[in-house]
């Protein structure tokens, strides 16, 4: 028994060291975002002699950080609200209506999960130009409604099946019908799956790169955080201290949110993967 306890402690130490090594690249990024150019060039590993917060104020105003943050928020919130709304009502109706037509529509809704985005990226862009959804954060948010819907419909559809039909019926007797029935009775019951969908979709839309690159990269006023960091590095290929500052600033919101909502996020990601 004793040797197995010693083994556990050894394993524990090895794993903690491994995790520190695993996160070391992130530490190096933060470390070098706080150094001057010559310090970065002379030694990447060493700690900064004095913290160069001026890197942050420089990048902050150069890329117009508040604007980018607002853009990301608009795109994510608009996208998410629409995905939840259109997918939940449709999935509810499709799940409750037992007919061949309804079953076919359901398949039409979830089939696109098999289409890789790169297969349609050019034509999505052309179509968005035709209906004037490109070069606008709101337009990009609207586009996400369709891109996020197949998975959301799939998850909601499966969950609604488990809600007894008697609930609908008793609400109908009480005089509620249509949207009122859905929003006051059914939607609150979907809370747990709605949380799952919110978590996986926020992570996806907030960090998405290729679709925003095609849709909103044209003007500095519509760029997202990731896009701005991407163009910024393109312009400052050798100024690593600024590049790392931009990287840290781009990922910091995600890390802060993750630290506070860790439990929900991990649970949501697992639930989303298992159901999807």
């Amino acid at each position: 028994m004793k040797s197995s306890r010693a083994g556990r402690i050894a394993l524990e130490i090895v794993m903690v060291l491994l995790s520190i090594l695993f996160l070391y690249p992130l530490f190096l990024a933060i470390n070098n975002s706080l150094k001057s150019f010559s310090e970065v060039m002379s030694d990447v590993v060493a700690l900064p002699k004095q913290l160069a917060f001026e890197n942050y104020s420089y990048v902050w105003s150069f890329i117009n950080y508040p604007r980018l943050f607002l853009n990301n928020t608009i795109i994510t919130v608009v996208g998410l609200a629409g995905i939840i709304l259109v997918s939940s009502i449709a999935a509810y109706k499709l799940s409750r209506t037992k007919s061949r037509f309804s079953a076919v529509l359901y398949v039409i809704c979830i089939m696109p999960m098999l289409i890789p985005f790169q297969s349609i990226m050019l034509t999505v862009l052309r179509l968005a130009q035709d209906i004037h959804l490109n070069n606008s954060t709101w337009g990009l948010g609207l586009l996400y409604w369709g891109f996020g819907a197949p998975l959301a419909v799939f998850i909601y559809h499966g969950f609604v099946k488990g809600i007894p039909k008697e609930i609908d019926e008793s609400a109908t007797i009480d005089g509620a019908s249509g949207f009122r029935l859905f929003f006051s009775v059914i939607f609150p019951l979907l809370k747990s799956v709605t949380t799952t969908i919110i978590i996986i979709d926020v992570m996806w839309i907030w960090n998405d790169f290729l679709l925003p690159l095609l849709m909103v990269n044209g003007s500095p006023s519509t760029k997202t955080l990731t896009l701005a960091a991407y163009t910024f590095v393109g312009q400052y290929t050798s100024d690593w201290q600024y590049a790392m500052t931009a990287m840290v600033m781009a990922v910091l919101p995600s890390i802060i949110v993750f630290i506070f909502l860790q439990k929900f996020i991990v649970k949501g990601v697992v639930a989303g993967a298992v159901k999807g």
Binding site: A29, N32, L105, C109, S119, I120, L122, T123, G178, M247
Partner: protein
Amino acid sequence: MFKKLGRKWSEKLEFGVFTLPVLICIAIAFYIPFAMTIRYSLLKWNGISKHPKFIGLDNFKQIFMGDANFTSAAWFTVKYAILYIVLVNVLAIGLAVILDMKLKSSTWLRTAFFIPYILSLVIVGFIWKFIFMQGFESLGASTGWGIFKLSWLGEPGLAFISIVLVSIWQSIGFYMVIYIAGLQSVPEDLKEAATVDGAGPFRRFISITLPLLAPSITISVFMALTNSIKVFDVILSLTGGGPGGTTYSVAYDIYRDTFQNNMFGYGTAKALILFVAVLIVTLIQLTLFKRREVEA
């Protein structure tokens, strides 16, 4: 509102009101672009000319007969996918088994290994580019280890490995938490019964844990497969396709042809091939794995 209409008609109307919005959104995001993709793939077109030329299946012929870029990108993607799927799943199962042993640091370990997954892949690529280019130089100077003196992004074989490793670094936490969830559903009494029967830890893992993990393995391999076939972001920022164009994936090759070379017809033909490949691989994999799963 619908009282004047018959009951049947009002039900139909309500069905339409509830389902039409999502159908329109999905049509705009997927079905219309997909139909356009099929049409474009039959054209010779630079995207600017008003009169694209209809050339039938010539694009496809050209791609399969003699497109060295596409062939090498396809090879790269296949090699990447295999290596990534195997490594990320094996490592994630290993981590999950260790974290499931209820170590004191389990909570911290789970957080640490999961963090990269919440970061954007493009940014992860840039951070690692910095580590490979600048960081390794300093680490090599202070430790003297040969591993830091290799040209991790400058030599084709090593650049390939770098891309695989960075992808694994970013996503291993995701697979790990799926496996942890799977392990927690393995009944304790089954493991105990096996211990009583004299099975060692390795034997227990092979004959009890692993078969019961089958559903999690299906999900993880499926996710790893769909993600690796489409690999793009991390390559764009880490190597930019270099050195010497050796690290282009199929998705990146499509991007290069359509947006950098303005070959709209030719690029979409490749895009359609990618779609068919994803479809076939997905269907094969789903039927294979479904058959093997053990009912717990």
